[in-house]
């Protein structure tokens, strides 16, 4: 019987059915970082447990590392302590640690693919909800809590219920100036922030077939913002050519065998999905959020919703709550909203292609007076290539601060924070209240090119107009 990729991978990693009906699922690859793992190591020590398969866990630091200071001790003693704690735990339990000294450090969801650790047909878990990113390679990747990190460390398995699969097909062609970020913001706005609860999303169609791996990662990254715990794209030649030659990719004869396995893991023609959604790529516009969850988005040409015109009482109150927080006026165009900060980076949009694309357009331009603009490469590797290509210089010349790798202002656990009610044009993934470090700080999510357009004009802008696009 034809099967989906999800079913194949799930079945290949099922160990047994637990008493409560959940599956004991083998976790092929476990990724950890400094913020959600220390308590798990503490539990391991308390219970006297050993790491079952230390060669299948990989660590890095991203959430709390400063991006304006690279030598230790870090100014924030708590951050410094957490990083040292991870270093100690990795040493004690024999886990590979991509520390800053290795030159391979970065956001965990950027490092895994970059190193070739993220591979098709595998199961991946990490104590971070954006682990769905790795699904871009045809892996089933889950965000997990700290107690589950303990479970994976101790047994390389976890208890999980099987998900349903919704195929989301985006066909046709994207219009110029429309990017992967717009595709996922559009999907979330269409299906809702909890539309994916209980599902894994399979992204497919002509648009995904043409997408690069980095574009696929941007979309899979935000699956959780639509409520889907996992999201994936079937592996194809694009996937294989990305992985070829990476440090952890198979070599020689093993490579050929791996590609054969990877091809076979893709969803079979004629397989059954629990749900199918079809979207015309031409219907997707550059999309920006106006509210306090990632589903509250509109095309850049659109207006801020008016709660009095809401279809339901629920919608009305959620618009009112969002607008009160965002200090935005109902019915006004979203375009032209003044910004204070522009943030380019994160596990959603902190990859080489994001900086390359923006660099094409900001060359010779300047960040608007009064706007603080920061660019944060997602990994040391991305930063290095940007430096080799002179991209960092383009950003600096345009008035951006160019930083060291980390999560930075996406969740603002390091010193990169909004102040007061500053409004940030951000390439990150969450616009929740207080997300960017100030309890009253405001976030508008958008694609990197739109962040650049906002930085240069000082307000939310249509990048197609600002840069005279014909982009992509």
């Amino acid at each position: 019987m034809p099967k989906t990729l999800f079913e194949k991978v799930w079945d290949a990693h099922s160990v047994r059915t637990l008493a409560n009906g959940q599956t004991q699922l083998l976790v092929g690859t476990h990724l950890i970082h400094e913020v959600t793992s220390p308590q798990a190591f503490g539990m391991m020590r308390d219970l006297g447990l050993k790491v079952a398969m230390p060669h299948r866990t990989f660590a890095t630091v991203d959430h709390i590392v400063p991006t304006d200071q690279v030598s230790e001790p870090y100014a924030d003693p708590l951050a410094d302590a957490m990083i040292k704690e991870l270093r100690r735990s990795c040493k004690e339990f024999g886990i590979t640690f991509f520390d800053r000294s290795t030159g391979k450090q970065g956001i965990v969801h950027i490092v895994g693919p970059e190193q070739g650790i993220t591979q098709p047909g595998t199961t991946i878990a990490c104590g971070d909800s954006h682990t769905s990113t790795h699904g871009a390679f045809g892996a089933i990747a889950f965000g997990i809590g700290t107690t589950q990190i303990r479970d994976v460390l101790a047994t390389q398995t976890m208890a999980l219920g099987r998900l349903k699969v919704r195929r989301i097909e985006v066909n046709g062609k994207l219009k110029p100036g429309v990017y992967a970020k717009d595709v996922i913001l559009h999907i979330i706005a269409s299906l809702g922030v909890n539309g994916g609860t209980g599902y894994a999303y399979e992204y497919a169609g002509e648009v995904f077939d043409r997408f690069s791996m980095e574009e696929r990662m941007t979309v899979c990254n935000m699956s959780i913002e639509g409520g889907a715990r996992a999201g994936y794209v079937n592996p194809d030649e694009t996937t294989f050519s990305y992985l070829k030659g990476r440090p952890y990719s198979p070599k020689g004869a093993a490579w050929d065998a791996a590609v054969e396995r990877w091809r076979a893991v893709a969803s079979d023609p004629g397989c059954t999905y629990d749900d199918v959604v079809r979207i015309d790529g031409a219907d997707i516009a550059p999309t920006v959020t106006w509210g306090i969850n990632p589903g509250q988005g509109v095309p850049i040409t659109g207006t801020i919703p008016d709660p009095t015109k809401a279809a339901t009482a629920d919608e009305r109150s959620s618009i009112e709550e969002a607008l009160a927080y965002m200090k935005l006026k109902p019915g006004a165009p979203i375009k032209g909203t003044r910004i204070d900060v522009a943030f380019l980076g994160s596990c959603t949009n902190g990859r080489l292609s994001d900086f390359q694309e923006v660099a094409r357009f900001i060359k010779g331009k300047r960040v608007a007076p009064g706007v603080k603009a920061i660019a944060v490469p997602g990994s040391q590797g991305v930063g290095l290539i940007c430096a080799e290509l002179g991209i960092d210089k383009v950003f600096r010349d345009a008035g951006f601060e160019w930083r060291a790798a980390g999560c930075s202002m996406c969740l603002a656990m390091n010193p990169d924070k909004l102040i007061g009610d500053q409004l940030c044009a951000s390439s990150s993934n969450r616009n929740f209240k207080g997300r960017q470090g100030s309890p009253t700080g405001r976030t508008i999510l958008m694609s990197p090119i739109m962040v650049a357009a906002a930085a240069i004009t000082g307000s939310v802008a249509d990048a197609r107009e600002v840069f005279g696009v014909s982009a992509n």
Binding site: R16, M53, D151, A154, N293
Partner: protein
Amino acid sequence: MALDKITRVAGRAVNVPGNDIDTDRIIPARFMKCVTFDGLGEFLFYDVRRNADGSEKPHPLNEARFKGASILLSGMNFGCGSSREHAPQALQKHGIRAVIAEGFAEIFLGNSTTLGMPCVTASREDIARIAAAVDADPNAEVVIDLVGKKVTFAGQSAAIAIRESARDALVNGRWDPIGELIDGAPAATKVASGLQYMSA
């Protein structure tokens, strides 16, 4: 380790209304700078409960009449966003022992269950009835019955739903799966040995 069989949770309730209450709101990221979960309870819902100077804002959890409540009521998609276990940990350390909402985000639901904190759903109308009852009498006892799948309060009752795997784990005292997972470790090793990419 023997775990409690959680068949019912009884206590006073507090309503924190709203849909899509995310885990950043439940516990802002800056309070995750810690290597243990101890002490997270005081930072629960910090930014919606306190002003920048630490003074209290109007919030149900700040009301004296709801102090000591152990059941939290809320709306749709409760616990969405980040996978941080710090969110259910903060609730639990604050004294919350169960959540009744219209719906839960997936990861939060799993994390909470593993901590032995039931997350049950009820209809909006029924949650409004419970909220009205505890508003009228904050000392009213609310009882979540995981066996009978109902909640009783102030002489009334309402149906609740809970994912069967979670209910089973709670009522049979196997909500922390570590023991079972360790028992399955030899089988896991066998499955891993058949997967090329997992070989050492």
